[in-house]
């Protein structure tokens, strides 16, 4: 369990105490409402609040206590640190060298293996028609490799999520079921990136919806590529089709639209991050943030390149590179910035449950008119 005198949590508690007393920011997002309801600000409370935070930086610009004020409230940075710490605590370990090195090794691993194991005349030949991909990388290794690469990290994430859920208070299956629709809406609409209505301080003290829109493209693009993978599995197992699929088919259409959306969204996120005022941020978290953008961007870019060049001799190595980027995404999943997604979803679920139960309490205590 986290020790109560951890200096990071002490500092987060000190800063959040100023927010609980001040309350000026409570129109911006769920963090301040939730903090209001948990004035004890235990380590678990702070990890919950940190994962509710979408790092929009709006409270930093609105803050009358931001540095150089002696009360030195710098919530976006300290919550980023607590958030990162919460992922690490719940997963329990991390790779030496951080997610960036791991991502690089994983990305290169598949092409290197392909170069070593696949005969050059097969790897560098043009293949076409159904089954062309498996002519380069046989189906057995691809499926087993994928299963291993996906199941182990996803298992780690699932265990971490279970720990985090207990840490932040959990909820009965009934409460979860009732809170699910609202939570999904909050996630899919990125409700907390509206800055209470006018937008967030993406880059500086001007309000904008740029980051929310870019994140929408990334989120929806990501979901579409997931849908493409599922559609491919259905096509393979139920319909008996063999990849590569024709241009006009569910896997290719979903994957293409999703990949393009991902790329555009990632370009937007990267541009905003690059141009943003660094003052509110915890700069030591930047490498992990850039790593996620790079891995997602590389996955989308190699996937689209593979689609365009699949009839050419470049297909073999491109396929290996694309699989490498997918591998990199999965093996870095429990150790990098991607952990924001499952943990934020749980924090949003928890906040919806608390909100609904306080509404119900309120309803019960309202006298009949």
């Amino acid at each position: 369990m986290p020790s109560p005198d951890d200096p990071l949590f002490e500092e987060a508690r000190r800063q959040m105490t100023v927010c609980v007393v001040c309350k000026f920011c409570n129109g911006y997002c769920d963090v301040f409402r939730a903090a209001d309801e948990r004035p004890a600000l235990t380590d678990g409370d702070l990890m919950y609040l940190a994962n509710l935070c979408h790092h929009c930086r709006t409270c930093w610009y609105a803050c009358q206590y931001r540095p150089p004020h002696t009360l030195a409230v710098a919530l976006p940075a300290v919550l980023t640190r607590v958030r990162t710490r919460s992922w690490r605590r719940c997963v329990g370990f991390g790779p030496p060298g951080g997610p960036a090195l791991l991502a690089l090794v994983a990305t290169l691993l598949v092409p290197v293996l392909a170069l070593l194991l696949v005969p050059a005349e097969v790897l560098f030949a043009a293949h076409s028609g159904p089954g062309a991909f498996h002519a380069v990388i046989p189906r057995g290794p691809m499926v087993w490799g994928a299963a291993l690469a996906v199941l182990a990290p996803v298992g780690l994430v699932a265990v971490a999520m279970a720990r985090f859920w207990r840490m932040i208070g959990g909820g009965s299956p009934r409460a979860v079921w009732r809170a699910l629709p609202d939570t999904l809406r909050a996630i899919l609409a990125l409700r907390n990136l509206r800055g209470g209505g006018p937008g967030c301080n993406d880059r500086d003290d001007r309000v904008s919806s740029g980051r929310r829109h870019a994140h929408h493209l990334v989120l929806w693009g990501f979901l579409l590529t997931l849908a493409a993978t599922l559609a491919a599995a259905v096509a393979h197992h139920l319909v008996g089709m063999r990849a590569p699929y024709p241009w006009i088919s569910a896997p290719v259409l979903l994957g293409t639209v999703g990949g393009v959306a991902l790329l555009v969204g990632i370009a937007g996120m990267a541009w905003i991050k690059h141009r943003s005022d660094p003052a509110p941020d915890a700069l030591e978290s930047r490498p992990a943030e850039w790593t996620l953008l790079a891995v997602l961007g590389a996955t989308a870019a190699t996937g689209l390149a593979l689609l365009v060049l699949r009839e050419t001799a470049a297909m073999g190595l491109l396929l290996a590179l694309h699989l490498g980027t997918v591998l990199a995404f999965f093996v870095t999943l429990p150790f990098g910035k991607m952990m924001h997604a499952p943990f934020r979803a749980l924090a949003l679920l928890r906040t919806t449950i608390e909100h609904q139960s306080s509404d119900r309490r309120h309803d019960r205590t309202t006298p009949p008119v």
Partner: protein, 414 residues
């Protein structure tokens, strides 16, 4: 806020505008950085404010707060407040909607989304986009009625010839020497809750140049704040509480009693005045465990003393006398005792210059001083007389800042 509104209004009338601020960029906006809501009259419920608050009701509240208020300013303020949310929204300011369920019920005030600092950011961004030239870290050393302004930045002095000048430098609450003149020598122990640049230098200069004074230097808005607050700029979170349900002892161990036993929001300023009258402008709130629980979370938590002797040592009081006082008047649940040191926290002072409804500064004979305007808390004593009416300071600053800016632009072009 008043200066920003004046600059925006004048610029929108076509004037070339310089906004000169003694503060560095991080402290721009004066005390508005610490504000949250503003009082506006309105006909009926809207997304921002429930129920209704008529112009007449606002004017009546103002007259009740200060029966000596200038009737023309009162009428203008109440009437112009109606249009304020629309006008400010047009300058980029965001308000917090009631629908989010996070703001307390208030039919008299609208809330700024994110508070005053967010509003200041929006106003500056709009002003700069419109071409207002902003000069920070620049003191105005002198203003003549003809519009000659002497600026000083570091060691460099320059003189600017302006067609009109709007002075919006607030009161003198950051000026300890002036506070000591108004409140006595113990005023060095006052905490200034807002900007450290409210030194009153231009207020004094205008008064010396013949501007008619209004209000009283010793009528200030003072609340009890934690004595551990920063000397300046502590804002809202340093406000102390617990006085009504604890025992308050002055520096010499004598109980301080508020005859009225205020428990509503009036308790903050009631205790501000009481502690300002205490020797050394210092007092201590003594609470038992139940009193601490009632406090809720504090930026400066109470210090816990296991027994009466420890408390006596900490407060440098005679243990026997303290034990007797606690027996007689202390909270029932102690020891242990929980202690909060408190001081007077000053928000604004009550002496200003007299202006007409367009912000023109008047001299002792009641004549206006051509080209010289004042807006915001430097003329607010003409409305409030240094008294406090929640949410009114922002309204005065915005309404009269806007009017003074427009009048100054008209004067400049005449």
């Amino acid at each position: 806020m008043a200066a920003l509104c004046a600059a925006l209004a004048a610029r929108r009338k076509g004037a070339r505008v310089w906004l000169v601020d003694a503060a560095p960029p991080i402290l721009r906006g004066g005390n508005t950085r610490h504000a949250r809501n503003m009082r506006v009259a309105h006909d009926g419920p809207s997304a921002l404010v429930p129920d209704a608050y008529s112009v007449a009701a606002f004017a009546a509240d103002l007259r009740r707060a200060d029966p000596a208020a200038d009737p023309a300013l009162v009428e203008t303020l109440a009437a112009d407040s109606v249009d304020l949310p629309r006008w400010l929204a047009g300058q980029g300011v965001a308000f917090q909607p009631r629908a989010d369920g996070m703001i307390p019920y208030s039919r008299r005030t609208v809330f700024l989304l994110g508070g005053g600092t967010a509003m200041v950011n929006a106003l500056y961004r709009t002003a700069m986009a419109l071409g207002v030239r902003v000069r920070h870290d620049t003191r105005v050393e002198a203003v003549t009625p003809e519009g000659r302004v002497t600026l000083r930045r570091g060691e460099a002095r320059s003189t600017v010839a302006a067609h009109a000048v709007v002075v919006a430098t607030g009161g003198f609450q950051a000026n300890r020497r002036w506070l000591a003149e108004a409140f006595g020598p113990d005023a060095v122990g006052f905490v200034n809750r807002g900007t450290p640049h409210a030194d009153g230098a231009l207020l004094r200069a205008l008064l010396e140049a013949g501007a008619a004074p209004v209000g009283e230097a010793a009528h200030a808005h003072i609340v009890a704040v934690d004595a551990r607050s920063p000397a300046d700029d502590g804002g809202i979170v340093t406000r102390a509480d617990g006085m009504p349900w604890g025992l308050v002892l002055d520096r010499d161990g004598r109980p301080v009693d508020d005859g009225a036993h205020e428990t509503g929001s009036a308790r903050y300023s009631a205790w501000g005045r009481l502690v300002a009258g205490c020797p050394g402008a210092l007092a201590h709130v003594i609470l038992d465990a139940a009193g601490v629980a009632r406090l809720g979370r504090r930026v400066y938590p109470p210090e816990t003393m296991p027994d009466t002797d420890t408390l006596a040592r900490a407060l440098a009081l005679d243990p026997g006398a303290l034990a007797a006082t606690l027996d007689r008047a202390g909270p029932a649940g102690g020891p242990p005792w929980h202690v909060i040191p408190i001081r007077p926290g000053i928000t604004f002072t009550g002496l200003g210059v007299r202006v007409d409804a367009e912000g023109r500064v008047r001299d002792g004979a009641g004549e206006t001083m051509p080209g010289l305007f004042a807006a915001g808390m430097i003329m607010a004593p003409g409305v409030l007389g240094g008294r406090y009416l929640s949410g009114t300071a922002l309204t005065i600053s915005a309404v009269f800042g806007r009017r003074a800016g427009e009048a100054a632009a008209r004067h400049a072009f005449a």
